[in-house]
Symmetry: C2
Subunit: 377 residues, 2 copies
């Protein structure tokens, strides 16, 4: 129950175990064509969705390498670990990086971005994080993208943990590049990552001088347009992704988003019922991962270890400066409310045994009640 | 029966279908530690073998990005498609590339390299291909590496299709970087790729200014030394690799090499018995893929299509300038002699039906006889 890699449905695991086919053979091409079409549907875009055999960070790197010539001014808006990754990457590629660094756990506001853009001027690319997995904050990227567009900048969004879990309208919101990976709400093992690329992004890439080869957009776009891949793709993972995306689209994206919103609500209400303090915001966008403050005097890592060792349940601790201070329960992908209640019940028991002063016996019931409430907020 | 992706044993497929585990969890760490140790054994090296979630080309790119500052003089010795890839990559990274381009199908000789190095001088890195999958030629990289070392250059070898199939003594032959991938003789699906890196290569990387992030050696080396991965690895593929490497080491590397040599001999003798002309050399090193000239008046692509459509057998055609002129039968990885005889029998039938003047009814017998001959050459 970490925010990724997430559990993979048995149908998807079964697809992984099929015999390996050649990536230029006819049967693979059928799968490949369907996967690319399904990715476009899930991405809510008419633009190409470029597929890489890589961790999600490879798709981050691709979005930097293809848009950066050394010295180009870019802006990174960060409020956690994955925002920091944008900063590390753009610095590695020699960009002139304006790094607007909010406190970990803050929700980036359009006004933060607007004033930063006004102060600097001439920003070519704005790098944003949709769901900051390290803190549980889901930003309003629609509003943030609109501000970046006013300043005539390209907008790149890290949606590794949000794509498929919460709404993200790539084309309707005018987002040039959306970065995602297979191992979160897309219900696959890690190993595939994606960049959707707008015509404006491709045009900018044509002038970017950073060296790149396997992550080169134009090479990948050209190959995909012919239903080919420039390099041997991870065919087993592509087959698995085909099955997983089919399941996601069969549930219907809107229903999936609604399920995630209800799972998030259930998790928050259960944690609050125990008397715990949320670290991630108590709002309906927070449907990806719930971050919970560990009570004073208790070390977060020990709680994570207790759940793993005593119950075989894997939740996540804090990253970076939040290490030891929070625990994180992921609810992206193939989850049902009873997974959430299981995590809450185990957390309750582990905290009680560690001597925390928490309310017993109410979290599960409260979570189930919250899950039943369909009302939109 | 292409030279990759190759068939994957059922034990390995079964490992792929196991539930996805978290890459920082205890059970994954056990697998990861074992895989890294097994990789070192198969690589015949005490140096770190860095693992990337990528196609083989990503490990090529890593070997260029970490060793190149713009303007550095490097030498590429090519005689086929994958040698051309070294040239494309080093050019993409702004190296001053001395490209010694032999005809496709030629076997690179130490004298070719020695004279090229003498002519240029001051070459920092020599990029070689061990098994040129496009032509079936396996070069004598021990001799080539020795020549490069005389000139005080680092030696980088593409061993994507040879690692695990034919001998390659990384440390004993003084090879600084050996590039390989999971989807050939290592009997796994595509998606993992490797660079072994010598202390000299790491030292050079510390001064190379090309931007890189997911393919950065130092970041990867540091993480692996702590049994961590810098980015979420393809955990399912790593588990599969663990099983596959276990099988390879259980057979014993020397026995595996011997099997490949015998498979190559069987394939060549069978093809010759039909009256076909070999394109790849008729020597014992050619144990990876056998390239066969298609008889005059017959188009290679049609032979490949006939085998696929009529018999469900996938062999490969020619790449680049060899398109239509040759067919290639791979015998790397999980193959037995009866796979070879199946391919030969199907090829014989397809060629006969296409009107080729070939000897019937003898190839299979001859191949089986050749396979039985253990004598070293």
């Amino acid at each position: 129950m970490t925010p990724g890699p997430t559990p993979v449905p048995p149908e998807v695991l079964a697809a992984l175990a099929e015999p390996v086919v050649h990536h230029r053979g006819r049967d693979f091409k059928e799968t490949y064509e369907r996967v690319l079409a399904r990715l476009g549907e899930v991405y809510r875009t008419q633009n190409p969705v470029l597929m890489f055999t890589s961790s999600g960070t490879g798709a981050f790197e691709s979005a930097v390498a293809n848009l950066t010539s050394p010295g180009d001014r870019v802006l990174v808006l960060s409020a956690g670990n994955f925002g920091e990754r944008w900063a590390a990457l753009t610095n590695a590629y020699g960009a002139d990086v304006v790094h607007v660094r909010l406190d970990w756990g803050e929700t980036p506001e359009p006004s933060d971005l607007r004033s930063a853009l006004a102060d600097t001027g001439d920003v070519r690319v704005v790098y944003l994080v949709h769901s900051e997995t390290s803190t549980g904050v889901v930003a309003d990227v629609q509003a943030l993208a609109a501000v970046a567009k006013e300043a005539d900048a390209l907008v790149v969004v890290d949606a590794v943990s949000s794509r498929g879990a919460v709404p993200l309208e790539t084309d309707a919101w005018g987002i040039d590049v959306v970065v995602s990976g297979s191992q979160k709400a897309l219900m696959c093992p890690p190993g595939l990552a994606f960049d959707s690329v707008s015509p404006g992004a491709l045009e900018a890439a044509a002038h970017a001088t950073s060296p790149r080869f396997v992550f080169d957009w134009e090479r990948t776009r050209k190959a995909q347009a012919k239903l080919d891949a420039p390099f041997t793709p991870a065919v087993s993972l592509v087959k698995a992704l085909d099955v997983a995306l089919g399941m996601l689209l069969a549930e219907a994206l809107e229903a999936t988003f609604e399920r995630h919103a209800r799972l998030g609500r259930a998790c928050r209400e259960g944690a609050k019922a125990m008397g715990l303090e949320l670290f991630s915001p108590d709002d309906e966008r927070s449907a990806v991962v719930t971050a919970i403050r560990v009570p004073d005097g208790i070390e977060g890592g020990e709680v994570v270890a207790a759940l793993r060792d005593r119950f075989g349940i894997t939740i996540a601790g804090g990253q970076g400066e939040l290490k030891g201070k929070i625990v994180r329960i992921g609810h992206i992908g193939w989850f049902d409310v009873f997974d959430i209640t299981t995590a809450l019940a185990a957390l309750e028991l582990a905290l009680a045994d560690a001597g925390a002063d928490i309310e017993r016996g109410i979290a599960v019931t409260r979570a189930l009640e919250a899950f039943e409430t369909h009302a939109a907020v």
